[in-house]
């Protein structure tokens, strides 16, 4: 059933595509607060599980229709997290490469855009040369909700919320990269136009 719905959505999506795959690039910078509620390790509660996120990356506009466009990005996310277990403080610095896919809906006659999508990322550290991804929870998918406001010079102010979508992932996977994040940032659209008429 899920597959059929996905196919219908895809059909709808492509049927409304203008056929215009104009490339639009952008630079993304976001920062924010991240946390997890009710986290435990071997039945001991982790207190004050929280952190700061710094997300820097590059976006690419894939498809555009009359009322929306799709954006694929590649970002490097650094999480500075901390918490307490057994009255002992711990800190962690974690780096993850993320792959956000966003569906962006510009609000007509305003400078506002609303976006929703999913962020795919690795959920475990890469310790050894092993590309088989043998951990069942090697991947994480976050739901993403974002609002953007066009400031000027193709610069957007972004405010986002993300939450882990895979509910069955055990708690240890969220200690250094918490479940929920509130993000604020800037997005700068770039145009790499080719000037063919340029003379030496």
């Amino acid at each position: 059933m899920k597959i059929k719905i996905s196919l219908l959505l895809l059909l709808f999506f492509f049927s409304t595509t203008k056929g215009q795959t104009q490339s639009k690039h952008s630079l993304l910078l976001q920062t924010g607060y991240t946390w997890t509620n009710n986290l435990s390790l071997n039945e001991l509660a982790i207190e004050n599980s929280q952190g700061m996120v710094l997300d820097l990356g590059f976006g690419y506009r894939l498809f555009q229709t009359s009322f929306m466009f799709t954006e694929l990005a590649l970002t490097g996310k650094t999480i500075f997290s901390s918490g307490q277990l057994h009255n002992r403080n711990f800190k962690a610095t974690t780096f993850r490469l993320t792959l956000p896919i966003k569906f962006v809906f510009p609000v007509p006659n305003t400078n506002i855009q609303l976006a929703s999508g999913a962020v795919f990322q690795n959920n475990v550290d890469f310790h050894e040369f092993d590309i088989r991804m043998r951990d069942k929870y090697a991947w994480r998918v976050n739901f993403l909700l974002e609002a953007r406001y066009l400031l000027k010079n193709k610069t957007l102010l972004t405010v986002g919320f993300s939450n882990n979508l895979r509910n069955n992932i055990p708690d240890p996977y969220f200690i250094n990269d918490p479940k929920i994040a509130l993000l604020i940032g800037l997005q700068k659209n770039l145009n790499f136009s080719k000037n063919k008429n340029k003379r030496p």
Partner: protein, 411 residues
């Protein structure tokens, strides 16, 4: 390479984290031989240069001589026993803390449990005479929990399964009085180990091991081993049933498939026979259980990685899988296999709660000493990472147990 392959590789390779915690606050012990611990403390007196040479070339089977002492509760119970020592293991030899095989000059009389004192010993096994022990670095679990293989084996012991296995307990090991590391003191899974368990001489044991490379006849009656392999290949069911301890085989297959051992049956399998007795199976190297493929059914685990074939003159070396499916065609065996599976599940002897009790006990034993290990080897990197790995082990085991329960009940 397609674009999504590029992104996939980037995602895989770009993941790292660095933990830190208040290690100083909990590292209150100095690693001397008089350390206050309930664990056995082993001191190996070895020639320093010879030891360094041996550990720097771990795959060359260099054996050196030395002496062995052991303390329990700060009392010296074993003093200067002559030993031969060598680096053991395959993949795990690359870790700075090596697994060491220790062979005593004479069989050690362990009837007072001074050398090795596991919580429980199966009624058909003896630990009274020990020729050799292994100080294990926990294999591929070295950087993680340090207690996975030991705890999973203890689950099989507590369930009183009809299998042969290795016994053990965590131990602190020193070389010439200097702290070497936290290792697991284990009995052996080889010919010496089986001879000890059944109180027979080494020459009375026929043993072969199955690795990813080959079917290796180690000791004893090689013709009998060849005949068994040939009979499995030729599907001679009656002969095979007459040579195999079928009840032991059933328990062995149930346990390995229940725990989801993904480094098996193509590897880490051994069969042995005492004198003219039937072939039994040795449970060992369980450090890759409940790790991946947890959603697989028991039969899918047994079928896992049927990749290896020997030369043209011999039958398949994927002997465990072939043997199982040969016997599985027999209705009596098939019914016995599933009836035993259901019985063990109903009895709750392999349940998550039982496993958790074992893991909690082992973790409690080594938790005061983990800071020493972390300070010396940064493996794991911090106490919080060690606790994360223990929680993952328990979480993944619980999922595996549920997957198997649902499968067996609905099959």
């Amino acid at each position: 390479m397609r674009i999504y392959h590029f992104f996939l590789l980037l995602l895989i390779f770009s993941a790292c984290s660095k933990f830190s915690d208040d290690l100083d606050l909990i590292s209150q012990q100095t690693p001397t031989l008089e350390i206050d611990t309930d664990l056995p403390v082993i001191n190996l007196i070895l020639n320093k240069e010879e030891f360094e040479e041996m550990t720097s070339r771990p795959n060359e089977e260099i054996e050196i001589e030395g002496s062995f002492s052991l303390y329990r509760q700060q009392a010296l119970l074993i003093q200067n026993q002559k030993i031969e020592i060598e680096v053991k293991g395959g993949f795990s030899t690359k870790f700075p803390l090596k697994s060491l095989g220790i062979k005593f000059d004479e069989k050690y009389d362990n009837s007072d449990r001074s050398l090795i004192n596991p919580q429980r010993v199966l009624p058909n096994h003896s630990l009274d005479k020990i020729k050799a022990i292994r100080l294990r670095n926990s294999g591929s679990d070295f950087k993680n929990t340090m207690l996975k293989d030991l705890s999973v084996t203890q689950l099989a012991i507590n369930a009183e399964l009809n299998v042969d296995l290795t016994y053990g307990e965590p131990a602190l090991v020193y070389i010439n009085g200097d702290f070497y590391g936290l290792l697991n003191l284990r009995t052996e899974a080889n010919t010496n180990g089986m001879a000890g368990l059944y109180e027979v001489k080494k020459k009375d044991v026929t043993l072969a091991k199955i690795t990813t490379q080959a079917f290796i006849k180690k000791d004893g009656d090689f013709e009998r081993l060849d005949r068994l392999v040939q009979a499995i290949a030729n599907e001679e069911l009656d002969f095979v049933k007459s040579e195999i301890d079928v009840n032991s085989f059933i328990d062995y297959m149930i346990f390995e498939s229940y725990i989801g051992n993904t480094d098996w049956p193509h590897n880490n399998a051994r069969i042995h026979a005492i004198k003219d007795g039937k072939f039994r199976f040795v449970l060992f190297d369980l450090d890759k259980v409940s790790w991946l493929k947890m959603d697989k059914s028991p039969l899918q685990i047994i079928t896992n990685k049927r990749l290896i074939k020997v030369n043209k003159d011999e039958a398949t070396v994927d002997i465990i899988t072939d043997l199982f499916f040969l016997l599985y065609e027999d209705t009596a065996f098939k019914n016995s296999f599933w009836a035993r599976y259901q019985f063990l599940l109903d009895q709750q002897s392999l349940a998550y709660d039982k496993f958790k009790t074992i893991v909690d006990y082992n973790a409690q034993q080594i938790v005061p000493l983990m800071p020493l290990q972390i300070e010396k080897y940064q493996a794991p990197g911090s106490m919080i990472e060690w606790q994360i790995e223990i929680d993952k082990l328990l979480s993944l085991f619980r999922e595996r147990a549920e997957v198997v329960r649902v499968f067996v009940e609905n099959r």
